[in-house]
Assembly symmetry: C2
Homo-oligomer: 341 residues x 2
């Protein structure tokens, strides 16, 4: 038995050491769990002030707390991921809701999706410009229609009919995002025309949450403003079930962030689940495989959070950093920004 313990210890250390992002304990045995991300990208400590870092961590913690309160109170994983996503959407710091980036036309076009791991039901909105909390509109699509996805004006009218808060374009105006657009447009001018024009795909942001509730049900939610200077009407991976969001009780709940087009071509959120189901991988191994092999080999950059039905957490990314965190039953908030924390 001692020999087995030693081997198990070596294997555990090995698994932890070979991990790319920060990982939680291996082989959790259920219990409520909440994981969030606020986007991945070139997030370097040297470019951050302590005050700025604190502001980001505060929002990540607030999102975790919002979801955790619901879970400890016996709420569902769906309720928890919506609450957490709304915290990100209401902050000007993250690229979702209030803090959404501007399109090339100077508008804010938002996308969001949600999936219930217990029923495989899903809802999504894309290309919405007037809904204060796009994730709530995605939830309404899932719970109040036969459809999975509504886009544009149809989605906006539906959200208003369902009593969701509608806001004018001024609500989504933030000086920082506007300056980012002007800078991107200036860069465009300096470049030759053609394919090189368009959004800077090295800058991206998303906000998301995955959760496991007391009944063992998984859920995932993702919300985004897309890419700065993106084309009018461009829809990325965030509202696409299987690309940006996926949840299935028997495998995992997943949300991705990064260069959305790579996640769409590779169905990378779903692929984490497929590798668990068909190839018998753990959630950590599947998330690592997807980020390092699938995303990396396609030449894409970004990250994934994933959570299985036993509460095992994976937070993988191939960028400098990813705003992320998790919380379990004990309520202790774990937040991370850079690679080595």
């Amino acid at each position: 038995m001692r020999g087995f313990s030693r081997i198990a210890a070596i294997l555990t250390v090995g698994l932890v050491l070979c991990g790319c992002g920060k990982k939680s304990d291996e082989n959790q045995q259920g219990g409520i769990t909440m994981v969030v991300h606020g986007g991945a990208g070139t997030i370097l400590k040297e470019n951050m002030t302590p005050e700025r870092e604190r502001e980001y961590r505060d929002v990540i913690e607030a999102a975790l707390r919002a979801g955790h309160e619901i879970l400890v109170g016996g709420g569902t994983s769906i309720e928890a991921v919506v609450a957490a996503a709304c915290v990100f959407e209401d902050s000007p710091l993250f690229n979702a809701g209030k803090g959404s980036v501007f399109t090339g036309q100077g508008t804010n076009e938002m996308d969001a999706s949600i999936m219930d791991g217990s029923t495989q039901n899903a809802g999504a909105v894309a290309f919405v410009t007037t809904v204060k909390n796009p994730i709530k509109a995605a939830l309404e699509v899932m719970s109040s229609t036969k459809h999975v996805m509504l886009v544009g004006r149809g989605a906006e009218l539906f959200a208003a009919e369902r009593g969701l808060e509608i806001v004018g374009p001024e609500y989504f105006f933030t000086q920082r995002r506007w300056e980012a657009l002007l800078k991107a447009k200036e860069k465009d001018k300096q470049q030759s025309s053609g394919l090189s024009k368009g959004p800077d795909m090295s800058k991206f942001g998303t906000a998301a949450a995955v959760a496991l509730d007391g009944d063992g049900n998984l859920a995932a939610a993702t919300s985004t403003g897309g890419l700065t200077n993106k084309m009018h009407g461009r829809v990325g991976d965030s509202p696409i079930i299987g690309a940006g969001t996926y949840a299935k009780n028997s495998t995992c709940a997943v949300s991705s962030t990064g260069q959305g087009e790579y996640f769409m071509r590779g169905l990378l959120a779903y692929e984490v689940s497929a590798l668990m189901e068909h190839a018998g991988m753990t959630v950590e191994a599947a998330a690592k495989e997807v980020v390092e092999q699938r995303l990396g080999l396609l030449g894409g950059r970004g990250g994934i959070i994933a959570l299985d039905g036993r509460g095992n957490v994976a937070m993988e990314f191939n960028t400098a950093g990813m705003y992320r965190g998790y919380v379990r039953d004990d309520g202790q908030l774990h937040t991370f920004i850079y690679r080595d924390e």
Copy 2:
């Protein structure tokens, strides 16, 4: 050796007998192949006149011929699937382009997508109302932008900029589809309000093509007008990579048709590829598994066409019929409508 031959023969007969839809020869060895479908549903011989049946078969044959001509001339699978999809889009008989059904608002909102199996590149448009051939707009998104998906007005402006033919709403008016909308609305009135309202999800149509070219490259294209009486802004599986369309040279090219929301939740086009890649299934077994187990168990109805890199064809459906056909090097056109042909 005789023993082995006998076992092989028994296995082959067994495989053919257990098939759900009509299948082509097993273990093809490459060579150009083209497969199309024009939607699945309650298509019964007793409701069809010989003239009407001939009209449908004529369009299926024209689509196959258009793609085949390109392939025998050394064209790519991408060119072939676009040509075939355009034949369906230009016909008033199929629910795509010209023959698109009406939304609940009396508009025509179309979706289309395309994927290149050799590069994993993809393009899609959704919620477009002015583009004569939505599949051409999807192709332009794939070949001329960094994006995978454009929706609504953004997609329409882009299509016009790229020189595609733009038409007014009168182009998409067909008396038959208009009457179908009026009938659906009448049915709505008779039903109670709430979740039971909305599109009749037992009536659906799509047009699609998958192809294998002389260089061994696979491609898939799907185009649709969606559901009669659908909600303004509803987007189904057809423009979603992985749900309605998928292609990867090492596995297969797939297009699905049916109750789109089930294909979106289950990522059923991608799942055919995932079962081949991760579970070692043949294209026939994977397509059968997806339609019978995945779609069927979710309670959904529809069908799938799939083609692997050796030219093996699968055409599976759990509805009464599916407009479908295939052609190989020899140019002989095989078309089918009902289950037992």
